[in-house]
Symmetry: C2
């Protein structure tokens, strides 16, 4: 099991965007920040836009910015936007082929293996839903107070 690595890029990008309120940042700049492939990062940002996490503006002076307060953007929102809403474990209802199976039963609900896996993923998602971009950004500032200024400087220098 391997998570889409764009999730990592998206999270760091959102943290950076939280330090550029009201100021669109282009995919090219965000990519240059961490030396990432521009076109591919752009694709991830598009997904975030479709999910309503970012807003995009075209043309010169365009770019991406957070669509809402970073305190209302959870890590789960980002994971779902990039990696898809499906659960990792997918019950294929193999019990249907077993002895004494009920053809009408929905084993994604009743199968106990499925239930156990679902409860574990629920714990995972609950943990992610409890963390927001604002939480991360705030904790970064605690340990590295100059981080927001660093970001703004780098974006300004890239603009030249």
């Amino acid at each position: 099991m391997r998570m889409n690595e764009g999730v990592e890029w998206a999270m760091h990008s959102c943290v950076n965007l939280s330090w550029m309120p009201g100021q669109p940042v282009t995919a090219r700049h965000l990519a240059a920040f961490y030396d990432l492939p521009t076109a591919y990062l752009n694709k991830q940002l598009q997904a975030l836009t479709r999910a309503g996490i970012l807003t995009s503006v075209s043309g010169p002076k365009g770019g991406f910015q957070l669509a809402r307060d970073p305190r209302n953007i959870t890590l789960l929102d980002i994971v779902v936007a990039i990696d898809g809403p499906d659960e990792a474990f997918r019950c294929t209802q193999i019990l249907k082929a077993g002895p004494g199976a009920d053809p009408k039963a929905d084993y994604t609900k009743t199968c106990l293996v499925s239930q156990a896996m679902r409860s574990a993923e629920l714990a995972y998602r609950r943990e992610l839903a409890g963390q927001t971009i604002a939480d991360i950004a705030g904790r970064v500032v605690e340990t590295t107070p100059e981080a927001p200024a660093n970001a703004r400087n780098r974006f300004a220098n890239l603009r030249s």
Copy 2:
């Protein structure tokens, strides 16, 4: 993100094996139980064997059986055996390319995004580690008391 579907097969197979104590069951029989591809299920069972969850015996009257008490086999054990020990989210330390980066720092530890994702996966694994094959099997018997007998009968009929 999508989990190896062999995990589902492995869990159901282990539950069934818990009802056949001391009696080896062949991969062919386990596959026929749920109408699964024999050779591929065999591969998963081999992985469980390498992980020390099952023991295998070759030759006629051979097959697989649980290597230890099902109360000591957690769902996490099975997931790790089949899906690998790596975490889904892998920190690639993109902060190393950012401004003010410390080349000697291990950002898999210090990066706050990485920490948040790790804590979520820990919650996931903790949940899985709290469930054993014996727990599942016991709950199955509560709802379907005839399940163990059904399994033994089907295996016996397949043998003929």
